[in-house]
């Protein structure tokens, strides 16, 4: 009983709930902004990587390699604590948004590249011989086919970014984890942390299932 009182104190959970919800809304806003920004930047980066003039391509490759190798936490701390030394100051939200979407963009670019290269050359040729300019063919013919392959890993990466929003608590952004930690300190009880963990799980577990389903469906389609 004492264990439940310590780790799952209903009274404390109820009292901390509104605070956790405020943290959750920050987390969700950060996650959504990072995912949208990172995904679009990633698609753009991938098109540059594939079709820009050679020197620009190499820049894209360098970017992609670098940000796939750099830990998000290191990047975040660089942005938040190091940039001010050269006079560039971002709020904790903007710092986290930049760090998350810069890294997501690098991963998305690779995923999109695999998706586009998975479309047979014949499809590019058929679009071209019908007189479609390259970008029109890209939009009407190639990307819609690539999307099917891209969606599962893209969703997977988005889940990872959602989880990594918790790193924002390191730069004092009042996200779900930070709020839970503060409440824990305030109420001298770990229940809010358990509450936060349960909220993360409840939100992300269905998404994990969706990825599993999409992957299985793609596999079935490929067999056909």
């Amino acid at each position: 009983m004492e264990l439940i009182d310590t780790f799952f104190n209903w009274d404390i959970l109820l009292r901390s709930f509104p605070i956790l919800m405020r943290g959750l809304s920050n987390t969700v806003v950060l996650a959504c902004c990072s995912i949208v920004l990172g995904t679009f930047a990633g698609l753009l980066l991938c098109l540059v990587r594939l079709y820009a003039p050679r020197p620009v391509q190499l820049l894209a490759v360098a970017y992609i390699d670098m940000f796939r190798a750099l830990p998000i936490l290191v990047l975040l701390i660089l942005i938040y604590y190091a940039l001010p030394f050269v006079g560039i100051r971002f709020s904790s939200f903007v710092s986290a948004l930049l760090a998350l979407s810069m890294v997501l963009a690098a991963f998305t670019a690779e995923v999109c590249r695999a998706g586009i290269q998975n479309v047979p050359v014949g499809q590019f040729e058929a679009a071209a011989t019908l007189g479609m300019p390259f970008w029109l063919g890209m939009r009407k013919i190639i990307l819609p086919q690539a999307v099917k392959v891209i969606i599962p890993p893209l969703t997977s990466n988005s889940i990872a970014v959602f989880k990594d929003t918790a790193l924002a608590s390191v730069v004092a952004m009042p996200d779900l984890l930070k709020q839970a930690q503060d409440t824990q300190a305030l109420m001298a009880n770990p229940t809010p942390l358990i509450g936060a963990a349960i909220i993360y799980l409840a939100l992300l577990w269905p998404l994990v299932r969706v990825v599993g389903y999409l992957e299985a469906r793609n596999q079935r389609l490929q067999m056909r």
């Binding site: 047979p120 014949g122 499809q123 040729e125 058929a126 679009a127 071209a128 011989t129 019908l130 007189g131 479609m132 300019p133 029109l136 009407k140 013919i141 819609p144 086919q145 056909r224």
Partner: protein, 256 residues
Amino acid sequence: MTAAHPHVIDRNSPPVVSMTGINKWYGSYHALRDIDLDVASGERIVLCGPSGSGKSTLIRTINQLETHASGTLRVNGQELTPGMKKLDVVRQDVGMVFQHFNLFPHLTILENCTVAPISVRKVPKREAEERAMHYLERVKIAEQARKYPFQLSGGQQQRAAISRSLCMVPKIMLFDEPTSALDPEMVREVLETMIGLADEGMTMMVVTHEMGFAREVADRVIFMDAGEIKEVAAPDAFFANPKEPRARAFLNQIMH
């Protein structure tokens, strides 16, 4: 000459395709050697030759899926140069049918036929659909219009691909071995569609090993070997008495 399928070859207008001194290399491999060829409006040409002789390369050069290294290429009066800006516009008038159909798998047969007319030629959707249904009827698969490519047989897919090209109302149709990926019982239906096209006066260049088709509709048979045009002749003359020893050997081989 081709009594079964009489038609008009317009030799007074400028040629639809005009190649002079075309050369092409893949790395150090000389794939096209000094190709000279004019195709008149309404003319049907069959290209044949052993595997690797450059038939696909030649036909794909015409719409610049392969670029040439030297020589002059004119299509519908427009000179094509590697990296030119207006290439898309020239391609609108050059239909191409591939060995493996290359239908768009995420679109229905009808959408396959309307996507380019709507987005490239700016034909209103309704009109584009009417036109598509017209051509789908002509290739006898109108009832498949709402299906996706994978739901059709190979022969039906190839006929859908032909009608997709026709919907752009091209001035010339290029075919690169349109029946060689098909099961034997489906070859006939595709060839009949192509013969129908020829009867209506379409200018056609066809890479094929179907010598029956060549005999029936070709005005000229072109025999290629090692990147060169070795022989150009009317089909009767070519099949009865090929001048080139390589052509004779080739014919012996494909006629068993």
